[in-house]
Amino acid sequence: MTQRESSILSPGATVRLRGVFDRYSPQLYRYLLRRLRRPADAADLTQEIFERFLRGEGSGKVQNPQAYLFGIAANAVVDARLAQGRNPVTYDSRTSDALSETLCDPSPDPAERLGLEQELRTALDQLPDVHRAAFLLTKWEGLSVKQAAARLQLTEGSVMVYVCEARARLKTLLRRHQEEGAAP
């Protein structure tokens, strides 16, 4: 575990993003979803994350900017929790993975999880068929863009466009759902 933790931020690290939250920081994942769905309940750490990102000049940032960003975002979330005094455990990046289960809610509470699943399904239903098909083939069946293109009889470029549009649209719908629910 610890070895993987350190390799994430080291130069030349190759980290596949898929499941990065699961492996690296479930806390960050939960924080982001809460921020997205209930912005009023979640602290806004955007500025803090942004500033930490700008401060970092190391080669780790260039080698794997994505892992670098996730790393500092995860740290910012943990630091914020500590600052709130919710948990007395001292933070150590090498063990954050193991600690994450005790640091915050063990797993998202069942009601919250159910709510998310329902909102996701509603949002997915609102996507055009071809967007949904392209996106879900890559997500659920693990197809490459090329394979999905063959399956859908489309060009790779089109599938790429549909996948990107679908993901963006889902995010917008999740947030909008929340805003509409809050302001009838």
């Binding site: 596949r16 260039v62 794997n64 996730f70 098909a133 659920w140 470029g157 993901r167 995010k171």
Partner: protein, 343 residues
Amino acid sequence: MKVQSRIDELLTLRASEWFEIMKAPAPADRTAFIAWLGESRRHVQEFLEVAAVDEAVGGVPPALRENLDTLVARVTTPPTSLPARARAQPWRQRPGAHRSLRTRTTWIAAATVLLTLGAWMVMQARFETFSTGVGEQRTIALADSSVVMLNTDSQLRWRIDAERRDVELRRGEAIFKVMPDAQRPFRVRTPAGVVRVIGTQFNVYARHDGITRVSVLEGRVRLTAPGNGTVPDSGTLTLKAGEEADIRADGSITLDPHPAVEQAMAWRERRLIFNDAPLEEMALEFNRYNRAPRLRLINVPPQTYRFAGIFDADDPESLAALLSRESDLLVERLGREIVVRAP
């Protein structure tokens, strides 16, 4: 407010594209991605949230997942809203064939029928015509599986047989997603010139002023002017992905030094994106999409009032609202028109 939410959506889309790119980034992508993140905290926020949404979709339990085979079958079946004439293509008229195109297997079988009928079709081939009314958009699947999205107030003729794929955009605008087929080049003719491709995705806009604007999203296309594409030495230009060019009525072809391909494709989502555009052009664009209210300019000098913004194509009122804030423009509603007067 509306414009702001459009900008938000574009930001989210950009974040989603970065997410895709960063799955297998080139060194230049990494540098560009860092620069993009460093531009604004919003970029950082959008990227993280988009990643979380992607993760959440992956976490939907199998029991709650939609059946993708059914979905794929529905998507790959030719659009049912094809006009009657399209259904009258000979190969689809074979008894039972056009009703049972439900699965990929039968779709392939139909393609085989198409091949065996090929020779016969050469003799039968003739131009089919499609058009859209003001405000209407339509997607058409051609016989070679290429797809054309026809924008508002446009007219298209096409002929596809064993040797050629000829399309004529007589008026308006269309995005073409062309099935690769090196044997049969796909040609789009407009009043100003010819666009020739093998397999790609691009937008062609035959404008009212006689200029044809071509924007390439993917692959390569070759532009030829004037209208006769068989003359090798007339002006030609090869366009790559991300490039745009204009073919003018006098036969000249000019590459746009500041291409905005994404903007050119935005009409798929009924968005109009203007970047320092003159008011007369904005009015013309809105009027392509809307029968009412129409925008009419009175006394407005050309190239003088310029604006940037992102609009809902179906909402000319949003432009009217913007203009009414200009102190030297008078905006009034007269029946089904929005009249804009300059002093």
